[in-house]
Amino acid sequence: MDLDFSAEQDAFRAEARAWLAANVPAEPLPSLETEEGFAAHRAWEARLAADRWSVVSWPEEFGGRGADIFQWLIFEEEYFAAGAPGRVSQNGINLLAPTLFDHATQEQRARVLPSMATGEVIWAQAWSEPESGSDLASLRSTAVRTEGGWSLSGQKTWSSRAAFADKAFGIFRTDPDAGRPHRGLTYLMFDLRAPGVTVRPIGRLDGKPAFAELFLDEVFVPDEGVIGEVGQGWRIAMSTTGNERGLMLRSPGRFLAAADRLAADWRAHRDPAETAVRDRVADALIGARAYQLFTWTNASRFAAGETIGAESSLNKVFWSEYDIALHETALELLGPEGELADGEWAEGYVFSLAGPIYAGTNEIQRDIIAERLLGLPKGRR
């Protein structure tokens, strides 16, 4: 058991750090939940891609560096420590790309991945529907067989950044007569600007159009938009959501950097009498370290050829609760400034509030932990 980096890993870290130091914008970009900010973040993706830093874990042929899981975690630590911008392409990179690597044809990978790596095409997810949230398998949007492809109809919602994105991926019901709700679903990619698509932005809690509803009226998708086998969409999507909850979406680097920033704020403004705040600042540092070490354990298991299954639900519950607690502490530390909508931690706080809801609510995660990790009997949800 060790926590030692190899010389090669140290060199990779140094290279990433040097590039970030030279390239991260001095001033923060506008919020990526706005049209202006979205464009600025798209340009940042191109800059990352130009020097092959946008998708380090992908194979070189698609714009990556073939980085292993350890290098990816190192890159993420450096990325957040450098205060680099949020990743506007994250849904494509974290959700769709792993699905393509596991289930798509080589033609699909060659067609989709390079433009994702540069930010030229930005992908939105289309999972939830108005009547299908936690009970996702009950979804009703349909894909009907048509000449040379499929015709999509129905309504998707909570589609992150779909107001500005280019394309979307999701699952649709292709066989309404399949015996069980999980069967008869198919994983499809479609163009958000195709005829029949209407995108209605939804203001999140702070009013920014961070997600959208999608109305689909006989939207044509050619056969090459289907990922994997027709009817296998649920199984394919679940392999993606495992990534979302697990390692890929929230790397420890994000929280290590935020906790360090919080501790620096506390040192600058500390009131020695306020031991309650002091304790919560300490908890932020401790939690970030715990999450980092938990992740190194999982990365070591990956490297040893194991797979991470229901354990990813432990991750999701932990980081989502942690993120809110950290931001609450930061706002408290700011005093009267903490209320300001454009304050230093305001956007992060609003974003953190969604954490226990998206990527499978924490209630669903706790059911998974209880049933699959502790072996408790299934009950009514």
């Binding site: 058991m1 890993q9 300490a282 715990a290 070490l293 938990f294 009950g379």
Partner: protein, 317 residues
Amino acid sequence: MRFLLTREQADFARSLDAMLTAADTPAVVRAWENGDHGPGLTVWRRVAEAGVFALAVPETYDGMGLLPVELVLAFRELGRHGVPGPYVETAAAAVLLAGSPDLAKEWLPRIAAGEAVVTLAEEGGYALDADAAEGVFVLGDRVTGASAGSAGELRVSADTARRLYAAERAGDALPVSPESLTAARELAMLLTAAQALGVGDTLLAQTVAYVKQRTQFGTPIGAFQAVKHRLADTLVGLEFARPLLYGAALSMSGPDIAAAKVTAGEASYAAARTALQLHGAIGYTQELDLSLWLRKARPLRDAWGTPGVCRARVLEG
């Protein structure tokens, strides 16, 4: 980077688990809390034979050098099995005394062999199980030591298996270095954290077993979401404490140890609250063996570094 136990380390923990499972520790605890040290000292010798104390003793004195990861594994097993006795204190004393060649020669080979039971405490605090120890070391601005028979008056802990005696300085200052004093305190903190984690693991396991077989409203109570979610949160707490312990054992840095202590202590205490609540009234009885672990969680959370002390230490960096 391979942040996983080696096969040897996992095997070591498994063999201790098997040995302690066969030792009927609940009966040992019940004897110990009544002042009958016999069965407990039998376990002590077996633990020593398994090499546990040697992990805290340098090779020069018949030990294996300081092996913190293996110690953490061993103390987690001691916690899982609720083993009574001043194990943490004896291991920490080994590190303290290693700082003085004369004291090391006198005590360490016998500690490694399981022949010497010793305890140590902060001055003004309580020495754990001093009535079972042949040496009591008291830590303060100077370190003093007293031998057996001077334990004084028993104070009963909330965990009746922890027998406490006022720790007062006795005799001349011992020639131990400030570094070994710090190292002893930090090892006590780390191993208390490991023991607490083991206590929490057992409380969770026993409660999971209970809610699967306890039926109300015609169904096992473990099928109810209120019950499931509380147990899920308990597991989250324990699983994120675990890597902090291993990480602290690898670095042996003060802030890392403090982080592990507060997290394991809180997770274990939360497991105790969950265990009590989900067992209901039967869990609130002395009779049920669960009580042996329930009563331990709170003292271990606070021993050798309360959560407040640990959090302050983390921020000192």
